[in-house]
């Protein structure tokens, strides 16, 4: 069984069926790129995996644990969903940093709240047995994450004083601060100027070498080709084609994939 298993996901908004029986699997440390035109369901799929949307049907499991089962109402309880969300990190197109907190505070807010809860419950947060120890651990880790995304000197700035690219790097560090099993990116560079996309893509590329399992919804085809282990092309709520980047991007079989990619190739190279 693969590390991440997503099976038979069905999601409709009213009468519109957005995801029609989607399934894929991913091994630990692999990077999956999801490409496809707007409205094909890529973002909805990612939101279902993060439980921001509740699919009508389907099963999601990580490391053998079933986190969601459309037929099992006990998996749809608020508290259960909140716990299961922690398996996934999410980086949004619009960054969604908390504006009233500094870069550093953005990173440590959620881990501190979680540590307080965990220590109250079972006296342990990632090896720390007191809240004070946990906070020290969280702070140390946050400093390291800032270094990883190259923003140590922006530690005490507010998000409004950062460029879009810097904000997105903070958002990536914030998602990593909770050590998710799978990190998801929803068009992480679509809201950025072309000259800022590079710095964000480089950070994501850097994470690949540190063994993070990632799902990236993107329009950056060359990035998908270079970084992904696996590529999915979605169209109209189904997986039209999937495989290695060589298979899907270099040598697509489906006419729809071919048409989609040829539109991209017109402008690049």
């Amino acid at each position: 069984m693969a590390f991440l298993e997503v099976k038979n996901i069905q999601k409709s908004f009213g009468k519109t069926e957005v995801l029609k029986n989607i399934g894929f699997s991913l091994e630990k440390g692999e990077v999956l790129a999801i490409i496809g035109s707007s409205g094909s369901g890529k973002t909805t799929l990612l939101r279902c995996i993060n439980f921001l949307e509740t699919p009508q049907k389907g099963v999601i499991s990580v490391g053998g644990d079933v986190l969601f089962d459309g037929d099992d109402p006990s998996k749809k309880k608020d508290n259960e969903i909140r716990k299961n969300r922690l398996h996934f990190g999410m980086v949004f197109q619009q960054f969604n940093l908390f504006p009233q907190y500094t870069v550093f505070e953005n990173l440590i807010l959620a881990p501190k709240l979680l540590a307080k809860e965990k220590i109250k419950q079972n006296g342990d947060y990632m090896g720390a047995s007191t809240y004070k120890e946990a906070v020290e651990l969280i702070n140390r880790e946050a400093e390291q994450l800032l270094k990883k995304v190259g923003l140590t000197e922006k530690r005490d700035e507010y998000p409004c004083n950062l460029s879009g690219g810097q904000q997105q790097r903070v958002a990536i560090a914030r998602a990593l601060a909770l050590n998710p099993d799978v990190l998801c990116f929803d068009e992480p560079t679509s809201a950025l100027d072309p000259e800022l996309t590079g710095e964000v893509l480089n950070v994501i590329r850097g994470l690949k070498s540190s063994d993070s399992t990632m799902i990236v919804v993107t329009h950056e085809i060359s990035f998908a080709r270079d970084v992904a282990d696996k590529v999915i092309f979605m169209a109209d709520g189904v997986i039209e084609e999937e495989g290695t980047p060589q298979q899907v991007i270099e040598n697509p079989q489906s006419p729809r994939t071919q048409a989609f990619l040829s539109r991209f190739n017109q402008y690049s190279d």
Binding site: L52, D78, K83, R85, Y158
Partner: protein, 216 residues
């Protein structure tokens, strides 16, 4: 009557205005929050009820509402029930009226927070209450300071309407002088309101500056 003793007498009346102002704020600020949650509720009957309430209160004059609170209960109970104290009647009418206005300001502030802020909290494993208190609340406060200050300054001046149900406020004292043939204290009351509003303006500007440490 010299200037200072008239000032002191008017101030005696102005205490009633200050009292009405303070109690109205104490009551209307929390009540408005409750109504705003009601008018954003997914439960339709509650939402309809709250929005209808706001529509009626905002759609009729405060002065009329004062009369309703003071005169209607004895009329329909044939004298069995009346609010004896005129100030209490004024407080009730003012709290209801201002809660309706405040609720709309709260609603605007809360609904103006981008959905992404909540979603960012959710994917970071935060509880709904944590998202409200740690992420959203300060942003809402920053958004509503300006409209709130506006409304609160209006309240200062509206307190003089209580005079119509014979609450002994500053205008009542001024009117007593007028009846005795001394007209200028009536106009002098304006200075009291001006001074009060001036202080509030300074206070609100201070709060706005305090919240100016971030944008967005």
């Amino acid at each position: 009557m010299d200037f200072w003793s008239i000032t002191l007498q008017l101030f005696e009346g102005f205490k009633a205005n200050c009292y009405l102002f303070g109690i109205t704020l104490l009551g209307a600020l929390p009540l408005g929050l409750i109504i705003s949650f009601g008018s954003m509720s997914p439960f339709f009957p509650l939402k309809a009820l709250c929005r209808t309430f706001v529509w009626i209160i905002r759609g009729t004059p405060l002065l009329l509402q004062l009369f309703v609170v003071y005169y209607i209960p004895p009329m329909i109970t044939e004298g069995a029930f009346r609010i004896e104290d005129r100030m209490t009647a004024a407080v009730i009418a003012f709290i209801i009226n201002y809660a309706a206005y405040f609720s709309e300001i709260y609603r605007g502030g809360i609904e103006g927070i981008p959905k992404g802020q909540y979603e960012a909290g959710y994917v970071l494993g935060m509880k709904k209450s944590q998202i409200f208190f740690k992420v959203v609340l300060l942003q809402v406060i920053k958004r509503i300071v300006a409209p709130m200050s506006n409304e609160i300054i209006t309240l200062v001046k509206d307190t003089s309407l209580a005079n119509f149900i014979l609450v002994e406020d500053i205008l009542k004292y001024a009117n007593d002088f007028r009846v005795q043939g001394l007209i200028w204290p009536v106009f002098y009351t304006g200075a009291f309101f001006l001074l009060f509003c001036g202080l509030l303006t300074i206070l609100f500007r201070f709060v706005e500056r305090k919240l100016d440490f971030y944008k967005g």
